[in-house]
């Protein structure tokens, strides 16, 4: 076995597995019941899939100077994926995209309710004092 065939075989395996990761994300999107679990399916396989495909590309090119740009591309993905997932999840929680019956515990809800009550009390208090202060 010469090294060329080995490299080709490895990159072929990487490409197929990387493509399967995309399929896994799509299956997760279709089968999971609520937005939050779909987010897991949308983010995690993407990262590994791109890693494998970029590695296959680097192996196929057989030059060292493509690796830094591949690393940069993957690091960008690594930095952006959690941020966008967090933003979507946060918006999803705040706009009540949750199915409470699918959660075994929700430790955020109590905190949110307490904060909402406090804000309401403060608003009421401010409203009362404003009337006196303004005149």
């Amino acid at each position: 076995m010469n090294p060329e065939t080995v490299i080709d075989a490895v990159s072929a395996v990487f490409m197929v597995v990387g493509a399967l990761m995309s399929l896994g994300a799509a299956v997760g999107l279709l089968r999971f019941p609520d937005l939050m679990s779909r987010m897991h399916a949308a983010t995690k396989p993407q990262v590994l899939g791109l890693f494998l495909l970029l590695a296959a590309l680097g192996l196929q090119m057989r030059t060292w100077w493509v690796w830094p740009v591949l690393v940069v591309a993957w690091l960008f993905q690594l930095l952006t994926v959690p941020v966008s997932a967090h933003m979507v999840g946060r918006a999803g929680y705040r706009t009540k995209h949750l199915h409470p019956e699918l959660l075994s515990a929700d430790e955020l809800e109590a905190v949110v309710q307490k904060a909402a009550q406090k804000a309401a009390r403060q608003a009421a208090a401010r409203h009362g004092t404003d009337d006196d202060a303004d005149r």
């Binding site: 493509a19 994300a25 495909l53 296959a56 196929q60 009540k96």
Partner: protein
């Protein structure tokens, strides 16, 4: 061997794209659709990557980076400005 790999990945990615499009069409809420669109962009990126690896060129590399950044900016923007416009909140 590359021909087989190309065929297999083409089939797999087409199925994945079909799944994401079904979710975009069906997705009960806006955020579901944004998420599925993000996955669809990632699938396009994967297709570009496989094309480059199979044909040994780097023409689409910058396009790949741009696609992932556009997906990021798009989903963050929508998530930032999404409002709850459904009437029955607990039903999605």
């Amino acid at each position: 061997m590359m021909q087989i790999v190309l065929t297999v990945t083409a089939v797999v990615l087409s199925l994945a794209a079909a799944g994401a499009i079904i979710r975009i069409a069906r997705g009960p809420s806006l955020l579901d659709r944004v998420l599925a669109a993000d996955v669809l962009l990632a699938i396009f990126g994967a297709a570009l990557c496989i094309d480059m690896a199979a044909n040994r060129h780097l023409n689409n590399l910058m396009l790949l980076v741009a696609i992932s950044l556009i997906g990021f900016v798009g989903s963050v923007t929508v998530a930032r400005f999404v409002a709850d416009r459904r009437e029955n909140v607990r039903e999605s």
